[in-house]
Symmetry: C2
Subunit: 534 residues, 2 copies
Amino acid sequence: MRRFVADRARRAAAASLRAATRSGAPSAGRPSPPPSPAAAAAAMASAMVRAMSTAPVSLDTINPKVLKCEYAVRGEIVTHAQNLQQELQKNPESLPFDEILYCNIGNPQSLGQQPVTFFREVLSLCDHPALLDKSETHALYSSDAIERAWQILDKIPGRATGAYSHSQGIKGLRDEIAAGIAARDGFHASGDNIFLTDGASPAVHMMMQLLIRSEQDGILCPIPQYPLYSASIALHGGSLVPYFLDEETGWGLEVDELKKQLEEAQSKGITVRALVVINPGNPTGQVLAEENQKKIVEFCKNEGLVLLADEVYQENIYVEDKQFHSFKKIARSMGYTDDDLPLVSFQSVSKGYYGECGKRGGYMEVTGFSADVREQIYKVASVNLCSNVSGQILASLIMNPPKAGDESYESFMVEKDGILSSLARRAKALEEAFNSLEGITCNKAEGAMYLFPRIHLPQKAIGAAQAAGTVPDAYYARRLLEATGIVVVPGSGFGQVPGTWHFRCTILPQEDKIPAIISKFKEFHEKFMDEYRD
Amino acid sequence: MRRFVADRARRAAAASLRAATRSGAPSAGRPSPPPSPAAAAAAMASAMVRAMSTAPVSLDTINPKVLKCEYAVRGEIVTHAQNLQQELQKNPESLPFDEILYCNIGNPQSLGQQPVTFFREVLSLCDHPALLDKSETHALYSSDAIERAWQILDKIPGRATGAYSHSQGIKGLRDEIAAGIAARDGFHASGDNIFLTDGASPAVHMMMQLLIRSEQDGILCPIPQYPLYSASIALHGGSLVPYFLDEETGWGLEVDELKKQLEEAQSKGITVRALVVINPGNPTGQVLAEENQKKIVEFCKNEGLVLLADEVYQENIYVEDKQFHSFKKIARSMGYTDDDLPLVSFQSVSKGYYGECGKRGGYMEVTGFSADVREQIYKVASVNLCSNVSGQILASLIMNPPKAGDESYESFMVEKDGILSSLARRAKALEEAFNSLEGITCNKAEGAMYLFPRIHLPQKAIGAAQAAGTVPDAYYARRLLEATGIVVVPGSGFGQVPGTWHFRCTILPQEDKIPAIISKFKEFHEKFMDEYRD
C-alpha cells in the first residue's frame, strides 16, 4: 500500500529540517522564514520527547489523536495571511499588495457573494415571528416569503424557533427535505432517514465515530481528499486507506484502484469499513459519470462497505455534458433497496449557489442501516440535543426553493443563475490562465468550487523549499502569498501522488477581480520560474 | 472507589431481568410493559454475543464507545412520551390525559416561554441586512435594535453573516463577550480566550477530546451529574471518576470527598485530568458558596487538575442569599493568574432568562493553557470551521444586553424580570408540593431549572420494577407518564447514591399550568403509594 502521502511528505520534510539544522545551513534568505508544517511537526516531535512538563496540560499529555490531526484549509498559510492582513491594516504601504485574497476555502460570501434574498427573508421572519402579525411587514418582505415563514412555523411544535428540536431535526422540515430529494432523484425518500446537522462536518464525524473502533478499522478515501476526512479519521483513531484519483484522466476514480487498495489494506490486517466518495470532487472538481457511479455502488455492495457520499456540491456543475446523480438514485436505479447497501449522503447549505457557510446547516440521509444501529446514531445525535434551527430551516429552503408562479420565483432564478453562470465563467478563466503558464497543468473544474493545478517545480525550487525546512508546494504557496496576497492551500494538505505538487485555489473571488488575480498570479509565477528555472 | 452508580444500576437491573426471564416471571401487568434501559442493555448484550452479523454494520461491529454512551435526558421515557403524543393526536380520547408535559429537559420555549424581543429583533435584522437601508424598517424594529445590528455587522468582515467566521468565532463579538465577562467579574477577560461554539455541548466534547487519551485518564464528575458529561467521557474512551454531592446538606460539594475519590482513582492507576463542577447545579439546583469555590480552586491547583466549570445557569438564581460567582473570578480574587491554573468556563444561550435552545449558541473561555496546547484547541475548532453565526451574535447579545437609557431597556427588563421571578415562584411551588407528599423529600432549587426530589420507594414498588425488568425510578417515571402525561427523567440517568431513587423535573411549564401539574402529580403519587405501600 502506498503510504498516506501527507504523512510521508511530513516525515521527509522533518528529516530535511533536522539535516539542515545539523549542518548549520541557514534558512532560505526570503522574508520571514516560514514556520512550515514540517517545522511545526519537528517542534511537536521535540516536545514529545522532552521531559514531562509540570503543567497539568502540555503537548506531551494531551490526546495524541488530536496532535496527529491536521487541517490544512485553515493551517499555517492561513494564519500567516491573517497576520499579514493585520499588518496591512496597521500600515497599508508595508506590503506589495493592498488586500488579502482568500482563495483557500469555499466561503463565497466572505468574498462578496450576496445571499439569496428569498432565503434570508424567510430566516428573518422566523427569527422574529411577531412580525408576521403586522401589516407593515408586507412593505418589507415578499408575500411568498411571508407565506413560507407561516408554513415553517406551523411545522415547529408551538411555533417555537427558540426550542431544542427533535434530535434529528424538526420532523416537518425533514419531510420537506425528503420530498426535495425524491423530486431530485425520482425515488422515494423519508424524513425519518434525515439527520439535520450544523453543516456537513458534524455529520461526517458522527459516521466516523460510529464506524471506527481502532487503528485496525480503515476508511477508503480519495487522494487528493478534503482534509475533513483525514482529520476526522485521525481524531477517531482509525486508518485512512488512500485510493488515488487519476490526474491524467481528469481525476478519474477507477474501481480497479479501489480494489487494489482495499486488498492491500486487508493484507495488513485492516478491516475496511467504508468508502468516501466526494462528488463533485473536492479539491479536484471532477463530476463522476453515471456508469462509474454504478461500478462504485457495486463495489461497496460486494465488499460490504458503507458508502459515504459527500454530495455537498450537487448544485455546482459548470459543464454541459455532466449532470449530478446522487448515489442513492444510482443504487435505486440498479434495483438495490434499503436492505442491500448502507449509504449515507451528506449535504450542506454552505455550498451550492447559496453559499450560506455561516448558517451551519446541513443534513445526512441515512439509508440501509438496521433499526438498532440507527438507534445508536439517534442516541449520539441526542447527546448534542439538536442542530441550530435557523440552519434547519435553511436546509429545508434549499431543498424546496421558490417554484414557478411564486412571487419571488423570477428574481430568485435571476440570482441563482447569475451566481452559477458567473462561477462557471470564473472557473474557465482561471483554468485557462493556469494552463497558459510554464510548468502548470490544470484539469477542468466540472463542478464544486476549486481548481487543483499541478505545479511542475524546478529542482532548484525544491531545494530552496528543503533549505527553508518546508515542503515544496507549501513553499510555493507562501511565496505566492507574500508576493500577491493570494491565499491558496498547498496540495500536500489534501494528499497527492508522491513527487507531484499542487495547490487548491477556489473560483470564488468576485468576477470583476478575476483579471487582476490572474495578472498578479502570472507575474508572480513568471518571476518564481525565472528565479528557480533549472 | 464507589462504582459509577448508573453502571451499577444498569448491571443490577440487567441481572434482575435475566433472572426474571429465567424464572418465567411475567412482566408487570401495567399497560405497555416498558422496554426499559435495562431491557435495552440486555438486548444489546445479547446482540454483542450473537454470531457476527453478515450486514456491513451491526451492533457487534460498531464502535463500542458509542454503545456504552448513554443519554437519559432524551432516553427511553422521552421516546415513549413521543409515541404517546402521536397516539393522542390520532385518538384524543385514548389516554387519561390530553397533553404531554415535557418536564424532562431545560427547553423553556418548547413550553411556551416567549423569546426576548430585543434579541430576536437584532437576529432578524442581521439575517436580512438589506432591511437596514429601508425606512419602513423603523416601523417594525426598535431603534436600538437597528443600531445594534449595524454595530454587529460592522464587526463582521465584509458584513457577511453568511460567511464562515474565524474558527474561534467573529473577533469583534468575542471582544464584546470578553467585555461582558470583565464587567461581571471585575477581572480582565480577553476575546482571544473565547471559543464560540454551537451551544455548550460541543465545547465540552472538545475539552474531553483534548484531555482523554485512554481509559486510564479520568475526569472527576459530580454524582448526580448532567449526562452530557458521562456520555462525552464514554464517547472519548475515558473513565468517569465520580464524586458524590451530599443531599443532606443541600447537595453540598465537599473537598474531602473530592480528595478521597481522587486518591481512590489514583490507587487504581487512573490519571485524573480534570474536575467538572456544575454551578448552579444540574440536576441538583444548588448554588455554591464563595468559600466552597475557593477550596475547589485550591484543590485543582494543588492536584494539577483542569477545572471545567459548567456555568450555563449563571443567570438562573432564585434565592436572595446566594449569588453567582464565576470560578475565574474566584481564582483571580485569590491571586491566581493565567499561569497558575487551567480553567475553562462554559456558557450557553440556551439557559438564563433567554432560554434560546434552538439557536445553539455558546462559548467557552479558556485560560491557563500554554500557547502550544491552545493551538491544538484552535486546530480542532478549525476542523469544524466555525459555529453558527446567529448563535455567535446571540452569545454577544446575552453578554451585552440593553443598558439603561436604551430605547428597549425598560421593556427588556420587564421581560427579563418577569421570566426570572416567575421561574422562582414555580420552583418554590413545585418544591413545596413535592415535600408535602408521602415518601418524597426535595431540596430547594437555589438556581438552574430543575428539582431533583428523592423518592423513598416502598419495597413492593421496587419489586414491581424488578419484575418489569427496569430500575425503580424508571418504573416510577414511566407510571407517572402513563397516568398524567408528565415527563420526568429517572435519577438513574444522572447517577445517585446506590439504593436511593430520584427524578429530575424542570420548573419550566408556564405558571398557569403549575397548579394542574401539581394536582395531577399528587393524585398519581398517592395512588402509587396506595398500590405499593409496604
